[in-house]
């Protein structure tokens, strides 16, 4: 799952660093992800993992790291 997330971050995150170099807990916002880029990341995640983020999960903390995104997707799939 994390490889797919990294690929999405590389394509849509507009990060200032290579997504491959991010640790699981690297702060994506501090790595350059804008609010607008986070929308694209969210939509790409929904398409890739066939999930839909409910309003109560639209928080900075959900999209702030690979670990938090992984946790959110696992939560949505279960």
């Amino acid at each position: 799952m994390q490889d797919k997330i990294r690929k999405i971050l590389k394509e849509h995150g507009r990060l200032a660093v290579d997504a491959a170099t991010l640790t699981e807990t690297s702060d994506l916002y501090q790595s350059g992800m804008t609010s607008h880029a986070s929308v694209n990341v969210m939509l790409a995640l929904e398409g890739e993992f066939d999930v839909e983020f409910p309003d109560n999960m639209l928080k900075r903390s959900v999209f702030e790291s690979i670990a938090s995104i992984t946790s959110a997707i696992n939560q949505l799939k279960n």
Partner: protein, 141 residues
């Protein structure tokens, strides 16, 4: 006379905040091409989408990008709590019949504006070549 004096000091006590933002227009076009109506409906109200539709029924990406820049600028002024992401559609950019743009805040952005004592928001937006930008001035009592 007393009211005039009160108004004078009320004006002197007003404080201001500014927010600005720059958006790369091709990024908006690419997002729309890839995510379609889901992207549009997540960020823009029906009125905004209508305002940005051209006579040939295609979208003006520069206009959409300029509205994103306004929304981001307003978010910078409203300063939501660290974990909160304000819904994009709670900040709506309207155009009157004379072409002047203004911002209308919906819940929860309007509640946050009240909390920050924001009385008014004045916006300008522009675009040139591949970038759109916006500047927002907030007046607070």
């Amino acid at each position: 006379m007393l009211n005039q004096i009160k108004k004078y000091f009320a004006r002197r006590k007003a404080t201001y905040a500014i927010g600005n933002d720059l958006v790369f227009i091709p990024e908006v076009e690419a997002a729309h091409q890839q995510f379609g109506v889901r992207y549009l409906n997540f960020i823009f109200t029906p009125k905004e989408q209508s305002d940005c539709t051209q006579v040939d029924d295609t979208f003006s990406y520069s206009s959409l990008a300029a509205r994103i820049a306004v929304k981001e600028s307003v978010m910078k002024i409203l300063k939501p709590a660290k974990d909160d992401l304000l819904p994009w559609r709670s900040i709506e950019i309207l155009r009157d019949s004379f072409g002047s743009a203004s911002v209308k805040l919906h819940s929860p952005a309007n509640a946050l504006a009240r909390l920050r004592n924001i009385d008014s928001l004045t916006i300008t937006m522009t675009h040139e070549y591949q970038y759109a930008s916006a500047l927002v001035l907030a007046t607070m009592s």
